[in-house]
């Protein structure tokens, strides 16, 4: 918000056109709107979020069953008028399970990405702001963790929590996924802290933490948001992988990854159990990635004028 002045005073006389300054955010938004793929992705994401969060509730309200309701005698039927996506081995409605699974996957993705972004931002900001030896030490720690296999660490973390529930899942993913954010933020802060507005704040006696939170972090929001939008889909993928290993969400709760895992087991006999969750996952990931790419392009100063 340091960039660009707000609405300039109207120029008097001659009925001249109104000239308005454009803030970074307005500029970015304008360019994002011009990016058709990003807009389709965003609309799609919103639609999916809407469906995933309201769908299961609606199904329960209207038809009286949920993602966990079994009808053993009605197991493994292909798609039909009553169950659009068919039913699984236990006679559970696959559509409801895909929607609920999408809800879980989205939740895990968003929360894990939030945890990662928060931890990474704070860590990177402190490291960059303090500089010198502290910076050196903090960044070496990041390097060491970065050198370890990612999934290995997540699995250890989940094992330490001694529980495979949603919370341990996104905390586990987030606690390991913050490294890149920390590096990006630190780089930004290193250059920002030499700028005049920071010196001004210091000369007015603003304390270190306040400087970081009030002045430095807001100025790095651009890259953080970009990285965040790209982290969400990758977290969803990681969750799918963990579900594959049996460390993800626990039955009877589905996540898209768990559904795909189950479906892959019997794809030669019950194809619909693989096709629908896999399609849902693909659509969701594509949409989120388009949004992420669009936001990155929109916020990138180098892209300005080329959009």
């Amino acid at each position: 918000m340091t960039a660009g002045e707000q609405d300039g005073p109207p120029v008097a006389g001659q009925g001249a056109e109104l000239v308005r300054g454009v803030s970074l955010w307005q500029d970015a938004w304008a360019r994002l709107k011009r990016n058709r793929m990003a807009m389709i992705g965003a609309a799609n994401t919103l639609l999916l979020v809407f469906l995933c969060f309201l769908g299961p509730i609606a199904v329960r309200a209207v038809w009286g069953y949920g993602y966990e309701t079994q009808d053993l005698a009605y197991g493994a039927r292909p798609p039909n008028a009553e169950h659009w996506f068919g039913t699984d081995f236990f006679g559970r409605d696959l559509l409801t399970r895909v929607l609920y699974g999408g809800q879980i996957s989205l939740t895990v993705g968003l929360l894990a990405a939030t945890v990662a972004a928060t931890v990474g931002t704070l860590y990177g900001a402190v490291s960059g702001y303090l500089g010198g030896r502290v910076d050196n030490l903090m960044m070496r720690i990041v390097d060491v963790i970065y050198a370890l296999p990612y999934m290995f660490l997540v699995i250890i973390l989940i094992a330490i929590f001694q529980a495979t529930n949603l919370v341990s899942l996104f905390v586990g993913l987030g606690m390991v996924g913050w490294l890149m954010t920390a590096r990006i933020v630190r780089g930004q802060i290193l250059s920002l802290k030499e700028r005049e507005f920071v010196q001004a704040a210091r000369s007015m006696g603003v304390s270190g933490p306040t400087t970081i939170v009030r002045h430095l972090i807001p100025n790095t929001l651009g890259p953080i948001i970009v990285y965040f939008t790209l982290t969400v889909p990758s977290m969803i993928l990681q969750e799918a992988f963990l579900s594959f290993l049996g460390l993800g969400v626990q039955a009877p709760r589905p996540s898209l990854g768990a559904l795909i895992n189950d479906g892959a087991q019997h794809m030669t006999v019950f194809w619909w159990e693989l096709v629908f969750p896999a399609t849902a996952m693909a659509v969701l990931l594509f949409s989120l990635n388009f949004v992420g790419d669009g936001v990155r392009d929109a916020l990138d100063p180098q892209m300005r004028g080329r959009g």
Binding site: E68, T69, Q70, L72, A73, G75, A76, F89, F90, G91, T164, G246, Q250, A251, P252, Q265, H266, V269, F270
Partner: protein, 678 residues
Amino acid sequence: MLLACVEVFFGFACERADPRFYGTTRPKHGADEVWYCLVSEPEWLDPSKASDSASGTVITNVFEGLLQANPKTLEPVPGVAHGWEVFDGGRRYRFHLRDSQWSDGVPVTAHDFEFAWKRLLNPKTASRYATFLYPVRYGEEAHRRALRISGLTAQVTEAQVRAFVGGQSDIEKVVMAPEQRSAFVHLQAPEGQTGVEHTRGVITRLKGRALAGRPVRVSMTDVSVVGVKALSDHILEVTLTDPLPYFLSIVSFYSTMPLPRHLFKRLEAEGIPQPLWTRPEHIVSNGPYRLSEWAFRQYIVLEKNPRYWDAEHVRIRKVRLPMVESYNTVLNLYKAGELDHIGEAALPSEFMDHLEGFQDFRRANYLATYFLWVNTGAPPLDNPLVREALSLSIDRESLVKYVARGGQIPTRDMVPGGVGGYRSLGRKLFDPEAARAALTKAGYGPGNPLPPITYRYNTAEAHKQIAEAVQQMWKEHLGIEVGIENQEWKVYLKQLEAHEFQLARLGWIGDYADANTFLEILRSTSGNNHSNWRSPTFDGMLDRANGTLDRAHRLELLREAEAFAMQHNPVIPMYVYTRSELIKPYLRGAYLNYQTRTYFKYMWIDERYYDGTPEPLPDGLPRVPKPILPGGSGSPELPRAPKPILPAGSGSPSASGPDGGATRGPDAGRSSLGESRP
């Protein structure tokens, strides 16, 4: 990844497949090999310690006991012992050993058996199967380290012994052993003290005291008193407390196989830890095969043992045992010809309807129960009403029909009906009303929900399906939330042993065709009892039943014992297994018996199968050795081998396929005393 899949499917499509069979019908290996799926990593290859079906399969083929079993009927037939005599109305057996060698050329002697049996009973071995040899005289006393009072005169009575010890400790039971001039006293240790500590204390206090006016010696019982003795290198004599109808089946079971004493001595001299003796570089065995490779969690390779006494009849020279836990992978491997026999693996239930149409599909009865161990040690499952509620609210009929799908027999009893003439309890299978009432009576309901409980299974799709279905049934009928959790087989067994679980599935494969094999695991001293439910009353009932000579009366007593145990629900049975197998048409001599007992030495690859002139199927029974009576002439009482009886419901032993097949495995739990089928 994608490309690989495409290739695989393309490959299937291209093969000139015989549509009557599932997948390829040509072996991918030489005519002297078998590829058999072991499913999971064997826990122990040490006969004294093993209890799971994967270990059992390897041990059964690598070692040979006094007797072995007919691979089809499981009747005991001669093994290392070529004949046996019975004395004292079935209380004393004398086994005559043939000349045979360990795989390093050292002769196998009766001393190797004596050593192995005593090691099994030694509490330091920590065998789960020690109770197996309790029928051997003083076996129980040795294993439980009873108090031994020796140096008694023949006139000393039990009452005098009780009076002598009585002041120092509660007494569980006294066993008089006049021929040893001893008495064995089972003490009851007070809370918070182990049995051994307590006995030690009592010994110090009794030292130097006189019994009936005479000095006596007080000590802790060790295995030297056990009624098994090598009379010579070729004769082993076994004394039993009471005649036991199924004793010869015990002798053909892998826990009683001989151990290479000379190897143990050598390892000790070289300072190599004893547990390493089963590694391929050390192991010495006496069976038809020897262990040649063991790649952890990947595969085991067995090779023919040229020193085996019957080596000329062993046709398969190499057995490859891959460990594949995923049933779907097993099925695909079988289809592609990477397995000749799905072995211990179960078939995925969702494929069952599809597979039943193929000619290489076989189904047989199976003496095994699928059940949940309930850890009765901790709340809320220490409350019998809660256990009753859980047990009664499982809709077993649906579970079997729609989830397990293998024609299994739903049951709420531990012992499958029909075993050795046993009449099953026939407890009511499903009663949600009564279940809810029991839960309410236990004080749980909407206002006071049941604390969270966890249902655990060993990683396998089939168990997961059962778990998910049961989880939902409990939610629907009792309104309770149960978490489910999976673990790798070996870890799973360790946690069972440590009682670190609440509900955990297991399959128990009967070790012999007698109800006792299923009830024995509920005995308080059994290493296979994972429930924390220990009842001296139940132990007493089992002892009384097994000490009864009249068959009908004995079965009735066993039935009473089961009824007593099941009242407390230390286990929640679900169904009696069936075995559904896929065996390639070119693999012959693979029999389906009612246990997971597979003998590779009877198998062969039928090369004429390809020319369209397959060898005629064997007439049903394999060629097995016949007992040779010692001395030739005399006719000692030859015990009649117990007739194996198949699990409930159906039919005669011939219910297995045309030429039999071997076992399958892993959906289960412990076999032999059940190996647990993983």
